[in-house]
C-alpha cells in the first residue's frame, strides 16, 4: 500500500475533553478518502490535525504520531508553513478573501515569495482551469471575488488551494453550504482532481461519500470505528455501529 499519511495512536484533548481516542489509520496516495460520522464525532478535528491547523487553538493537546511522507509532523522543529503548502485545505463555507479573483489565487504563491508576474499569471490561469472556473471568470479576473456566486466562490477556494500544487487537499464539508447543482459541479471537479492529488474529505452526506470516495473512515465519539474500501463499508460493514449509522438508525 502506497500511503501518504500514517497516523499512530493519535490522541487529542481540549482541556479535559478527549476529542480523539487512539486513532490509527493509513491514508492512501492519489485516492479520495471520506471521513463520515455524526456531528461532534471528531472527524473535522482529525482533518485539521493533518495540516496542524489545530495549533491555533490554545487548549488543544496532541499525543501520538502523524507521519506525512514518513516524517513526523508533530515535532518541535517541523516546518509547519512548508507542510501547509504541501497539504492544502478547503473549508466548509466558501471564504474567499475580499480581494480580486486574481489576488485570491495568487495569494499562496506570493506568500512564498514568488513575485514574477509571468509565473503568477500562469499559476492563476492553470489553477482556475483545473478548478473549472476559468471560462466563467476569464473576463473579470480583476474583479472582487465576493461578486461570485456561492458555488463559484467555493471553486475559487479550491483553485486557491491547488495554486500551491499541494500533494494533499483536505476538504471540510466543502459542499454543505451549496445548492445541489453547485454541489454536483464540485463533485465532478473532485473526480478530476483525484488524478493528481490525494483528497481527504469530511462529509455529512453518506451519498456523497459513496459517490466520490475510494476509501471511507467512520468516526464515532472520537473513535475510528471502521476504515475500509468505500464499497465494502457501504455494503458489508464489519461493525454493527457502522451498519446502524449508514442504514440511518442514528446520526
Amino acid at each position: 500500500m502506497n500511503s501518504i499519511f500514517e497516523i499512530d495512536n493519535l490522541n487529542l484533548h481540549y482541556d479535559d475533553f478527549q476529542a480523539l481516542k487512539d486513532i490509527n489509520i493509513r491514508i492512501e496516495k492519489n485516492k479520495v478518502t471520506a471521513l463520515i460520522g455524526p456531528s461532534g464525532c471528531g472527524k473535522s478535528t482529525f482533518l485539521r490535525c493533518l495540516n496542524r491547523m489545530n495549533d491555533l487553538i490554545d487548549s488543544c493537546k496532541i499525543t501520538g504520531e502523524i507521519e506525512f511522507k514518513e516524517e513526523n509532523i508533530y515535532t518541535s522543529n517541523y516546518d509547519v508553513i512548508s507542510l501547509r503548502t504541501k497539504v492544502g485545505m478547503v473549508f466548509q463555507k466558501p471564504n474567499p478573501f475580499p480581494m480580486s479573483i486574481y489576488d485570491n489565487v495568487a495569494y499562496g504563491p506570493r506568500c512564498q515569495g514568488i513575485k514574477d508576474k509571468n509565473i503568477l499569471d500562469e499559476i492563476v490561469a492553470t489553477s482556475l482551469k483545473s478548478s473549472a472556473l476559468y471560462e466563467e471568470v476569464r473576463d473579470r479576473i480583476k474583479e472582487s471575488a465576493l461578486s461570485l456566486s456561492g458555488g463559484q466562490q467555493q471553486r475559487l477556494c479550491i483553485a486557491r488551494a491547488i495554486a500551491m500544487e499541494p500533494e494533499v487537499i483536505l476538504m471540510d464539508e466543502p459542499t454543505s453550504a451549496l445548492d445541489p447543482i453547485a454541489t454536483l459541479r464540485i463533485e465532478e471537479l473532485m473526480n478530476e482532481l483525484k488524478k493528481k492529488y490525494t483528497i481527504i474529505i469530511v462529509t455529512h452526506s453518506m451519498h456523497q461519500a459513496a459517490r466520490i470516495s475510494d476509501n471511507t473512515a467512520f468516526f464515532l465519539m472520537g473513535e475510528l470505528i471502521e476504515f475500509d474500501k468505500t464499497n465494502k463499508i457501504f455494503t458489508t460493514p464489519k461493525n454493527q455501529k457502522t451498519e446502524d449509522y449508514i442504514t440511518g438508525r442514528f446520526g
Binding site: I81, P109, Q112, I114, I119, E165
Partner: protein, 323 residues
Amino acid sequence: MSTITRILNRYKNRRTYNKKEFVDKIVRVIFMMSTILSASFIIIIIIFISLKGLTPFVTSNSGIGSVNIISFLTGNVWLTGTAFQSSLYSIGFIIVNTLFIAFLSLLISMPVGVLTALFIAKIASRRISEFLRIVVELLASIPSIVYGLFGSGVILIFVYNLAEAFGIQSRGGNSVLATVLVLALMTLPTITAISEVSIRSVNKDIEQGSLALGATRTQTNFKVILMSAKSGIFASAILGIGRALGEATAVSLVAGNSKSGPSLGVFDITSTLTSTMLEGLKETTGIDYDIRFSVGLVLMVVILLTNLILNYIKKKVGSIDVK
C-alpha cells in the same frame, strides 16, 4: 514535470522555516513593544501626577505646613486663609458636587440620547437618519469652549429666568442646573453615537422574531431592541460619565465656582474638581499650584472608581442579557 511545478517546488522546499518563523517573532516583538509603549503612558501620567499631587501632603510646603489628607478629603471649605500662605485645603464638598452633577447630567442625557439613537437607528427614514448622524458627529467635535460659550450666552439666561419664574433668586443663573444642562449637552453626542451603533447591531432575527409573535413595532423597539442593546448603551453611559467628570473649560464658565459647600439645590452655585483645578493653574509654583495636582489625582481616582463600579454593574446587568 512542468516549469511551474519545478518553481513551486523550489520555493516550497526551501528551508523557509527559520526565516518565516523569525519574521513572525520579530513582528510580534515590534507589535508588543508598541503595546507596551501605549500602556506605559498611563503609568507615566500616574507617576507624574502622584509625584506632584502628593507633595502638599508629605512636605512642609516651604514652611506653611503639610496638608492634612483626612480633612482635605472630607472638609467643606476650599481654602481657609490666604492663598500660598495656608495649608487648610479641603475638597470633600467638591467631590460630592462633582458626582452629584455628573449623575444629574447623565439622568438627562441618557434617556434623551438613547431615545434619539433609537429614533435614528430604527424610526427615522434613511435620509433623516443620515442627516442626524452627521449632526451628532459634528457636535462631538465642537470644542468644549464653544459649549461654554453657549452655556454662558444662552443657558445662564434661561436658568436665571426659570428661577425667577419659580420666585427664586439665582446667582445670575450660575448654578447646579446650568452646569448639569451644559454637561448633558456635551455628553449627548457621545451617548447617542455609541448607543446607535449598539442598537443597530442588534440581530435582525430577534427583531423579526418579536414582530412575528404579534408585537407592535413600538413594543419591539422598547422591549426587545433596547434590552438587547443594553450592554452597548451601558458602555455609552460609562464614556458619558467620564466626559462629564473630566470636563473643565465649559463647566468653569457656568458653575459659579463656589468655594464652600456642598451644593445640593439646583439653583445654588457650585464647583467641580476640574473647575477648581483650572482656576489656579495660572501660577507655576507654590502650594496653591501644587494642590491642583492633588485635585487632579483625586479626580483620576474618582473617575477610575466610577468606571470600576459601572463596569461591575454592567457585568451584572449583562449576565441577564436577553439573547
